[in-house]
């Protein structure tokens, strides 16, 4: 049965790979996109390669951190905007202000090992006033990445690469503006947060109130989510494109939901993407993934690139359709394209609308940054009120 299913999937995807518009359905018109450029709730973002100039498909913003309650502040640029996680993390090497630590009830400083698929971040939790555009999150715990305190065994045993330097992170920090108000959530396991006396670190179960929060949830207004607004990429690749990160959904004149369709997510931040009649129910929209990542080479009908097995290298541009379905039952078709990563990488362009690769280790479609080009994507935070549905949701 499984073999039959796999054969059918393979056969259909091979047919699809070479036919435009396979899967049918409507297209996402980009002609009506309006990018908000002014307002106290609007921060500029840019897909420009980042601080080292060679980061494909990531949006960067600038923000200010202050010692809480003081005017001792510092602006940090090149912070990667990530709708796939929650919480602000900044490299210690990019910080010049000295922020107070978060201490556990016994007085020991709290540290965090935060895992991403691409690598973990390790460092102390510190407290800052976080300012971006005209918004402010007062006394917000943030993770300061990079420290002399040794990485504890529970973190090393994940086996993930370390993303604790400018070189390995490719950014000065990560601004997690995802679907949840805290980074870890209820029942946070003891492999994430640690208390570190001078001897060695011990895993702790950090309460929600003490966890690193999505800073947006701490704003006094415009705190129910964000809109990521990026223009379409002309000709499939451009050196850079610029847009806006808008705070709040339907809280101001410039952030109405408008005609966007709401797709609600489950508590782990997933919805269902269906491709060739197979449903992938751990799918997600993530500006922090730098491509469309889905299926494997066989199911997608696309070859991997030679050396870089993490990307697809079809001989031409392949058009693909898939259908997203929220837990609210709303569904809609998305058309996208994949081009050869080798060809895309041969230029120095940083905004690549057709970059993709496999993600076969799970039951998922990962709608990375290229999904955001040409459409405004709303991200509504769980536990907050927002129009059109019950957060957590995406709308576009």
């Amino acid at each position: 049965m499984k073999e039959l299913r796999a054969f059918l999937i393979f056969s259909v995807s091979m047919a699809c790979a070479f036919s435009v518009g396979c899967g049918g359905g409507g297209s996402s018109s980009t002609s009506s996109q309006t990018i908000t450029s002014s307002g106290t709730n609007v921060a500029s973002i840019s897909v420009n390669g980042g601080p080292l100039g060679d980061y494909d498909d990531a949006a960067f913003a600038s923000l200010t951190v202050c010692v809480p309650g003081t005017s001792t502040c510092q602006t940090v640029d090149n912070i990667l905007v990530d709708t796939g996680s929650s919480g602000l993390r900044i490299l210690s090497s990019a910080l010049t202000v000295s922020l107070p630590p978060q201490n556990a009830s016994n007085g020991n400083p709290v540290f965090e090992c935060f895992p991403f698929v691409s690598g973990y971040t390790w460092g102390p939790v510190q407290i800052a006033d976080v300012e971006i555009a005209g918004e402010k999150a007062s006394s917000a715990p943030i993770e300061v990445i990079g420290t002399n305190t040794p990485v504890p065994t529970g973190c090393l045993d994940l086996g993930l690469p370390s993303s604790d330097t400018l070189d390995t992170l490719g950014a000065n920090g990560i601004l997690g503006v995802g679907l949840s108000a805290q980074d870890c959530g209820p029942d946070c396991p003891t492999s994430i947060y640690y208390e570190c006396p001078s001897s060695s670190c011990q895993g702790i179960s950090q309460s929600l109130a003490q966890q690193v929060p999505n800073p947006v949830s701490l704003f006094s207004t415009d705190n129910n989510g964000v809109i990521v607004e990026l223009p379409s990429v002309s000709g499939g690749e451009e050196a850079s494109v610029s847009g806006s990160l808008v705070f709040g959904i339907a809280t101001e004149a410039n952030n109405a939901l408008g005609g966007a369709t709401v797709y609600t997510a489950d508590s782990s931040g997933s919805f269902t993407t269906t491709y060739n009649n197979v449903a992938y129910n751990e799918s997600f929209i993530d500006s922090g993934s730098n491509g469309f990542y889905f299926l494997d080479s066989g199911l997608a009908g696309m070859p991997l690139c030679g050396d870089e097995s993490g990307f697809y290298c079809p001989s031409g541009t392949v058009n693909i359709s898939a259908t997203n379905r929220g837990t609210n039952g709303t569904s809609g078709t998305v058309n996208f394209s994949i081009a050869s990563a080798d060809a895309l990488f041969s230029s120095n362009d940083s905004a690549l609308s057709d970059l993709g690769g496999p993600s076969s280790g799970g039951n998922l479609f990962d709608w990375g940054l290229p999904f955001f080009f040409g459409r405004n994507v709303f991200v509504a935070i769980q536990g907050q009120n927002a129009p059109g549905g019950t957060p957590p949701y995406w709308a576009y």
């Binding site: 060679d54 498909d57 698929v117 980074d183 029942d187 997933s270 993934s289 799970g362």
Partner: protein, 161 residues
């Protein structure tokens, strides 16, 4: 007589205890991938989870369920060896526990992939002796691993999920 016998019993217990200690020291309670069914039990103990066994034509799946929705499936060949693993949950699993003797190879390969080209993307390791794939995001990770040459005849890698 009774006394001597008791002494002898104690000696045997001591000897057994010593042997057990040596066994535990020589074979730490980990090493699932490539290990035998006992290593599956070690993983279950480590995860403090419940286990159910599902028989397929060419292998047996041991599914371990732990807290917060964490699930690990271990694929055991007719020869009694774990040839593949799949997992999903809110956070990545303890890969040292699950990959055992393959852990260091995994660590080196993951590091090499992350250094290949800047960018945040799923993990895809395909080496002759080890395949590991992981995707997802904080609060929803999923992945799989297998040893290609250990796949039983007729079993395809896609079955490990």
């Amino acid at each position: 007589m009774h006394k001597r016998r008791s002494h002898s019993m104690n000696s045997k217990l001591l000897l057994a205890g010593a042997m057990l200690t040596i066994f535990v020291t020589a074979f730490p309670a980990r090493a699932s991938l490539g290990g035998d069914t006992a290593s599956v039990q070690a993983d279950q103990l480590y995860m403090q989870g419940t286990r159910q066994t599902i028989a397929a034509e060419s292998y047996t799946v041991h599914e371990i369920q732990a807290g917060a929705g964490a699930v690990v499936r271990e694929y055991v060949s007719p020869a009694g060896k774990v040839f593949g693993l799949a997992w999903h949950g809110r956070w990545p699993p303890n890969m040292r526990q699950l990959l055992g003797s393959y852990f260091e190879q995994y660590v080196q390969a993951a590091k090499a992939q992350s250094g290949y080209r800047r960018g945040r993307r799923p993990l895809m390791i395909e080496q002759p002796g080890l395949v590991v794939q992981m995707g997802g995001h904080p609060r929803a990770f999923a992945g799989m691993a297998y040893v290609p040459e250990m796949l039983p005849p007729g079993v395809r890698a896609e079955e490990i999920q």
